[in-house]
């Protein structure tokens, strides 16, 4: 199981190391600064931390020594326009950092608000905007979901073929590319947004995909937590089947696919729009192990009364599928060593947590 856990918070990056039966926190990095995303690149051990400085903009830092020291590197940025005005695009936040394929050393993807996808081929030294996605005419229909601006929160890289990418947009649907980002298609038949006007309920580009997570060993299995509910694809994200009737709620932000079992995934339910807290103020994780037919509600070790909300990147599973981590906007951090049957609180006083990632 993974013995390193990185936690991106509103006021710094806190990394934990497993020692015996305990998780011990290292000295935080970027103390006081909002960390919007963290990536532990399994290919070479490099760490990346994205900052969203309130005054001074989006920054990106890299550590080549497991977090002992950090260096600022280039941050993704839109190309300079000839005559800038207030409408010229600027990166507001790096929402997700994702490693490229195993056969693409140094390739990184960054999903951002306001909806730009950026690629680096040199471990973040330089970045370029993916023009073909940014210039899609449908992008003008993307809208804010979670933040004021539309954003890319999920980038799936197919482990069988790193040129096969899938991007999730909140709000703006699911966009696969078969050629490494040279061209994009809009997919996701079956996704449903019942809150939209009737003619737009099944409009693919109107879907508020909250998070996508694919099974590493069976990448055609894609789980989707959507604003409207929970969905599963068995064809690589072309089409989705809705998962209904899950208690206590089908609403949430996070989903984590089991790395080797295509029938297992975890979700963290909450009340939908009107109250962003756990249903009945009881935090649970819902787990399916039969492909979404049935779900078990996991609450052992979680608080009886809770106002914790788990954001899109606040739930992670390690490569064994046994160890999970979960962090909330209330600053609680839990782990489980038995696939979620029992949770242990690691910390109760962290700043709001944006992302948890195993090292």
């Amino acid at each position: 199981m993974s013995d390193i856990l990185h936690v991106a918070t509103r006021k710094g990056l806190v990394s934990f190391k497993r020692a015996g039966n305990e998780w011990r926190a290292n000295a935080p990095a970027f103390i006081g600064q909002p960390v919007s995303a963290v990536l532990a690149d399994a290919r070479d051990g490099t760490l990346y931390a994205a900052l969203r400085l309130g005054h001074f903009g989006v920054k990106l830092h890299r550590s080549d020594d497991a977090g002992a020291s950090w260096s600022e590197i280039a941050a993704p940025a839109f190309p300079t326009v000839e005559t800038p005005d207030d409408n010229a695009p600027a990166v507001d936040m790096i929402w997700t950092l994702v490693a490229g394929g195993a056969d693409e050393p140094g390739v990184l993807w960054a999903g951002t608000t306001p909806g730009g996808l950026f690629k680096s081929s040199d471990c973040g030294a330089t970045w370029s905007l993916n023009d073909s996605l940014w210039n899609l005419p449908e992008r003008k229909d993307w809208a804010g979901g979670g933040y004021d601006l539309p954003g890319i929160h999920s980038v799936l890289v197919d482990p069988r073929d790193a040129k096969s990418l899938t991007v999730g947009v909140s709000t703006g649907g699911v966009w696969p590319s078969a050629d490494g980002g040279g061209s994009w298609r809009l997919t996701g038949t079956g996704l449903r947004a019942e809150y939209m006007p009737p003619d737009l309920v099944f409009d693919l580009k109107m879907q508020d995909v909250h998070r996508l997570s694919a099974c590493a060993a069976a990448p055609d299995i894609v789980w989707c937590q959507h604003h409207n509910g929970m969905f599963r694809s068995i064809d690589g994200g072309e089409t989705y089947s809705e998962i209904t009737g899950v208690k206590p709620s089908v609403f949430g932000f996070a989903v984590a696919a089991h790395p080797s079992d295509p029938n297992t995934a975890w979700f963290v339910p909450a009340i939908k729009d009107e109250l962003r807290i756990p249903v009945d103020a009881e935090l649970v994780v819902t787990q399916t192990s039969d492909g979404g037919k049935t779900f078990a509600s996991q609450s052992d070790g979680l608080p009886a009364v809770s106002y914790d909300l788990v954001y899109r990147h606040g739930l992670a599973v390690d490569r064994t599928g046994s160890r999970l981590a979960m962090g909330s906007t209330t600053g609680n951090l839990w782990t489980s060593d038995d696939s979620g049957r029992r949770w242990t609180q690691i910390h109760g006083h962290l700043p709001p947590i944006a992302e948890v990632a195993f090292g």
């Binding site: 005054h55 300079t80 207030d86």
Partner: protein
């Protein structure tokens, strides 16, 4: 030469001591500083060359009016203050 002073809150991110610049506009003054301190640029202006949303620039006691082209004029005796505007906690 105009004198340029940066908020102390920037110091924890990037070294930016007060400096002097031969400049007729705010843009020229900042470009002069950035030429010798490239890392500082992205902390003050964005990739489009605009002042960052939560950055304020004053020339003596008046705020700059042009936050995009930074065309406000400065004189040899002016002081330019670059500091952060209020944002959340």
């Amino acid at each position: 030469m105009a004198r340029i002073v940066f908020t102390p809150n920037l110091q924890r991110h990037v070294d930016c001591p007060p400096s002097n610049a031969p400049a007729a506009t705010v843009r020229e003054a900042l470009d002069h500083v950035f030429a010798g301190n490239p890392q500082l640029r992205s902390y003050v202006i964005d990739k489009q060359g605009r002042l960052r949303k939560h950055i304020n620039v004053y020339i003596n006691d008046r705020t700059v009016s042009d936050r995009i082209a930074l065309s406000d004029t400065v004189g040899a005796d002016d002081e330019i203050y670059v500091f952060q505007a209020l944002t959340g906690g």
